[in-house]
């Protein structure tokens, strides 16, 4: 394996060197970097031009300029030297610009990738299990539609219509009966497709889910919940106990009492802890991600102990399921805290909650949780746009692999030896169907970074994409090369990781 990694790294480095030289030459020759200075009428024109020539080393041949850039870049890898990605035409350090812009772009790409994978795989899984059903056809058509949507168009659409509509709605947040029923119809339809089985069972699921949705929405609207949203202790309790039930079912089935009890106990512990933790985290003195992480570790530890104590003979499964439950409960507590910060945030931004410009409000004055909300509010629409466009390929792909897995002999064997359908689907089919997704996801990161260029342009982020586009339009090679370097290194590294992960996940593959 070591030999393989070394070989791959060597080949990748050579490819990277060649392609970076190619891109460098292309960018340098794509126009006149002095164009905007030539029309300058001010008396300092000549000094300005001379300065820019000095900054970009325009008086040197292109290969020499490339080597200069490369020397700076090697500093990022070789210890003891400074990482230097060159300077822009305006004499700013690209290294500083990149490190500043990288955070926003990574946030966008990661959020979109995770959301697209989770939603896409879920949709693909269900439509494969209910092949040729109404749900399957709907998902297929939606996937085709999303696949054909131009990202920039969706982004502008969300920015110009959804954002403004949502913000206007937040000014007077009420849900009428008609809209509640419309939402209920959608959830009901989804529930019916999810449940499957005979007609009676499906209608029961539809009516229950739809009715529940409509009731909750109308009730929330009546209590003016949308103005000061929070899950509250009751909400957290219901959600975490419900997810404990779901996690226990998916991991071991409800028949194995020890796992179920341990999950429920973990959720209860979480709900009890919430009473102490929430005020603690809301205190500006304590609110920070370090403390959140610390608490998560404590929660996982407590869950593991609970699993060991109550797991009986199913100790391993109980510990794992309890830890997942603890993470879910923690997430609900976090969501609750964030929701409680909404009214304060809304007051700070004059009620326009959904932001459409930038990656955060400049010179924002709110506390820690308001700041997190600010980042989330700015992240929401760009992420939604990228997710919509990427969702399609994951749902199609996972549907395909899942259908193939379900027709395999080992699935028939699993069924015929009497395993419950849940185990067959989750343990035997899904696990194997997901393996190829590692490769697809790794390849997709490049496309997502390309998508980030478009989204950042639409939403006016100061991210990597803006750096790239601005550099390209000004014939400024260094920012373009900075973006190129980060993108290609990320793609190469992720592909390597995906291949190694593939070998770990699929024992048939030997490295």
């Amino acid at each position: 394996m070591g030999v393989l990694v070394a070989r791959r790294l060597f080949i990748s480095t050579v490819t990277l060197l060649m392609s970076s030289f190619l891109v460098f030459v292309l960018v340098v020759n794509s126009g006149d970097p002095l164009a905007n200075l030539r029309n300058d009428t001010s008396p300092e024109r000549d000094t300005k031009i001379a300065r820019r020539i000095a900054i970009l080393h325009l008086d040197e041949p292109v290969p020499q300029r490339y080597l200069k850039w490369l020397r700076g870049v090697t500093g990022c890898v070789v210890p003891g030297r400074d990482c230097d990605l060159g300077t822009t035409v305006n004499d700013q350090s690209v290294t500083a610009l990149v490190s500043e812009a990288l955070g926003a772009t990574l946030r966008l790409v990661t959020a979109a990738l995770v959301l697209a994978i989770v939603l896409g795989v879920a949709a693909g899984l269900v439509s494969a299990l209910r092949q040729y059903s109404g749900f399957d056809h709907t998902v297929s058509f939606t996937a085709f539609l999303f696949f054909s949507l131009p990202l920039f168009w969706v982004a502008v659409l969300l920015k110009q219509y959804l954002a403004i509509g949502a913000n206007n709605w937040f000014a007077e947040p009420r849900i009428g009966l008609a809209s509640a029923l419309a939402v209920a119809a959608v959830t009901g339809g989804a529930a019916g497709a999810l449940v499957g089985g005979d007609r009676r069972r499906r209608w029961l699921a539809r009516v229950t889910a739809g009715g529940l949705t409509a009731t909750i929405l109308v009730q929330l609207s009546r209590e003016d919940w949308f103005r000061r949203p929070a899950l509250g202790q009751a909400g957290i309790a219901v959600l975490s106990l419900g997810s404990a039930l779901g996690i226990a079912y998916l991991s071991a089935g409800l028949g194995r009492r020890a796992v179920l009890v341990s999950c429920l106990a973990t959720a209860t512990e979480g709900c009890l802890a919430q009473v102490v933790v929430t005020p603690w985290l809301q205190d500006p003195l304590w609110a920070s991600w370090t403390n959140v992480l610390l608490l998560l570790l404590v929660a996982l530890l407590a869950a593991a102990v609970t699993g060991v104590a109550l797991g009986a003979q199913d100790r391993g499964t109980a510990v794992r399921a309890s830890m997942v439950t603890a993470a879910a409960t923690g997430a609900f507590i976090l969501i609750d805290i964030l929701l409680r910060a909404v009214p304060g945030y809304a007051a700070l931004v004059n009620g326009r909650i959904i932001a459409t410009i930038g990656s955060q409000t400049p010179e924002f004055a709110g506390g820690f949780w308001e700041q997190q909300l600010d980042i989330l509010a700015h992240l929401l629409l760009p992420t939604l746009a990228v997710t919509l466009v990427t969702f399609a390929s994951y749902s199609r792909y996972s549907r395909g692999t899942m259908l193939e897995a379900m027709s395999q002999d080992y699935v028939r064997t699993a069924r015929s030896k009497g395993l419950p359908e849940r185990v067959v689907v989750v343990r035997h089919a899904l696990r194997n169907a997901l393996i190829p997704l590692t490769t697809v996801a790794a390849m997709d990161v490049g496309a997502l970074l390309g998508g980030a260029v478009i989204t950042e342009h639409v939403f006016g982020w100061r991210g990597m994409g803006t750096l790239f586009l601005g550099g390209l339009l000004q014939v400024d090679p260094n920012p373009v090369m900075g973006f190129f370097l980060v993108t290609v290194v990320a793609v190469i590294a992720l592909n390597l990781v995906a291949d190694l992960a593939y070998a770990l996940l699929d024992p048939r593959i030997r490295l």
Binding site: F144, F152, L449, V491
Partner: protein, 341 residues
Amino acid sequence: MTLDVPGVAEDGARPEVRVLRGPDGAEAGADQGLTVVARTQRQLVARRFLRHRAAMAALATLGCAVVLAFSSIGVLGLPGWWGQSYATTASLADGGRMTLDLLPAAVDGNGFAIGEHPFGQDDIGRDYFALTMRGAQRSLTIALLVGVLSTLLGVAVGACAGYLGGPVDNVLMRGTDLIIGVPALLVAAVLGRYCGGGAIGLAGLLSLVVWPQLARLVRAEFLSLREKEFVEAARAMGARPGRIIVRHLLPNTAGTIIVNATLTVSAAILLETALSFVGLGVQSPDTSLGKLINDYQEAFQVRPWLFWWPGVFIVLIALCVNFVGDGLRDALDPKQNKVRA
């Protein structure tokens, strides 16, 4: 009821339909209402494609869109049936609002009407229908050109690499790695600076970005096909590599190539519009659907139709091409024997 029996897949496909007959000369199974018809591979594919409802609907829609785009304002100097030009400015009628009305009289009291400016006018009074059609023409031309050029390039490289193997394969594949490792939009954006804003030049440059995918697929198929007996037989009879590639290997790869070419067209239309949108693709005075959206981005609040129409056309074209590609994939899949009704 009719059963499809895959016929013998020979090179020169036999067009006639053979009906299997029983000893008494009657069609086998006819007494049970069952006719067994032998069909060649090509007929099977054509049948499966023609019966793919979504693909046929998409093909028809796409055909209408193409005819509309090219016939309405004319092409290559030929006049079109739409009276107005995309370049002439005029005074704004009714604030440039759309005059298109598709709702019947019973709903809103106006009835079906096309009017003077069905898609409205832009801020300097140009007819937006003509502008959109001009943009659609350019975007379609670019997408089709990219489809053809990149397919030719991809097939040529993939075929050479796959059939010849050895050092040729190595060099060609490292070349494709070079391009495939970098996100397409990035290379396309850099290359886009060189086209000078013209549509044809942009098409040529975009093809340089999208071909490696197909080259890899073709190479993979060739690697397995060249070990087959029929290739060995052809070689034993003294066929040169060129003949083996063109006569024996390419027809067997046709499925992959056709499907991929279709999907390339839809990818190209999205890539081109995205580039034109950020200002790196088609430049004034030429226009494209992406550039139209970019040009009128600021006008959406007051004139939303300037945003909707180019977008609708992009989605329509890309969606139809994708559906056709899906239909072709289903039709060409040899494992597929179920005809979707």
